[in-house]
């Protein structure tokens, strides 16, 4: 009997066995990291330092200053859009609204949407947009600010999440949702226009909230 005959049945058995187990989900930390050696209590310890989200400061739809302190110790989801965008943004907002609704009352989760058209998207315009979407700024901040700071922040997140700069629209207009943990480490990237991927995002949020 040839060897290849065994491959299929064995593979199927393997699948059956692995399906039976409840696999505990581990979310990887994304982005570049450094390996550092440290001496702790006289012993050499090797530690991995992951990229963390750097400090920032923007203004939300209710004129609140939103910065790294706003998300301190919380899980957050972030994306980049603009209110007059006719292509992928309405879909992204429809999907982010699902996340907003699903985690109603969850104070440990913050949603943070940046406008990449901050000159036109004034605080007033973001307020109008947020009202029409039916959301409150205590859980979902739509922020505007200095254009360069917003673009460099987009680049910062996307490089960490390894988004291709050559993708249509570049870093800033990728349609991506990024998931960041309580330690400001990037733990997931999802296509914000895909219902299936946003389903996975919602499971992953649940996971991080209880991590």
């Amino acid at each position: 009997m040839s060897r290849s005959k065994w491959v299929l049945p064995l593979g199927m058995m393997f699948l059956l066995v692995s399906c039976g187990e409840e696999v505990k989900k581990e979310l990887p930390v994304l982005g570049p990291y450094k390996v550092v050696d440290e001496v702790v209590d006289g012993a050499l310890v090797t530690d991995t330092m992951f990229t963390t989200v750097r400090p920032f400061s923007f203004t939300d739809q209710d004129s609140n200053e939103i910065n790294h302190a706003t998300v301190e110790g919380k899980v957050f989801v972030t994306d980049f859009f603009f209110t007059s965008c006719p292509t992928i943004c309405p879909k992204m907002k429809q999907q982010m609204l699902r996340v907003y609704d699903a985690f109603d009352g969850e104070s440990q989760l913050v949603l943070l949407s940046h406008s990449i058209d901050p000159i036109r998207d004034s605080v007033g315009r973001l307020k109008d947009y947020a009202d029409k979407l039916g959301i409150q700024s205590d859980r979902w901040h739509m922020v505007t600010g200095n254009r360069d700071s917003i673009y460099s922040m987009a680049k910062h997140y996307m490089i960490a999440a390894q988004v291709d700069e050559l993708a249509p629209g570049g870093y800033a207009h990728s349609g991506a949702f990024l998931l960041i943990d309580r330690n400001k480490q990037i733990r997931g990237i999802y296509d914000g226009t895909s219902e299936e991927e946003v389903d996975v995002l919602m499971e992953d949020i649940e996971w991080l909230l209880h991590e």
Partner: protein, 133 residues
């Protein structure tokens, strides 16, 4: 064996051909030009984007749909009791026939209407709004 294969080929050909029916063209045009704003089943989004499925506005403005699609619409309108103050650009790239197929899809598939327009009616509507704008 060759008979089943023949049937299979025929079946695939038929399936492929289905896509070119006018009403399917309406669906494809909707997905390409409208879905990004009016959403996959025409439900709209909050008070930002009005629904085009099960929408009283669509039924009450049947005779204007072709013109709305070609020339856009702006300013406050009421759809299912909700006021929208948005702006939609026109779709000048769509031909009369394409607009006809889109209107067909919106009325029949998204608003459960039985009757729909024939191409000449849509052409008449479009002629009226081309002179006023």
């Amino acid at each position: 064996m060759s008979k089943t294969l023949g049937n299979l080929v025929l079946f695939t050909l038929l399936l492929a051909a289905c896509d070119y029916k006018p009403r399917n063209q309406g669906k494809v045009l909707y997905e390409r030009n409208c879905q990004s704003c009016h959403m996959e089943s025409g439900q709209g989004l909050g008070r930002l984007l009005p629904p085009v499925a099960n929408a009283d506005y669509v039924l009450e403005h049947r005779a204007e749909l072709a013109c709305i699609i070609r020339h856009g619409i702006s300013g406050p309108i009421q759809v299912n009791g909700v006021t929208y103050e948005g702006e939609m650009e026109g779709n000048r790239q769509l031909t009369d026939v394409e607009i006809n197929n889109l209107v067909h899809f919106i009325l029949v598939d998204l608003n459960k209407q039985k009757e729909h327009f024939v191409i000449n009616e849509v052409r008449n509507q479009l002629e009226k709004c081309s002179s006023t704008r």
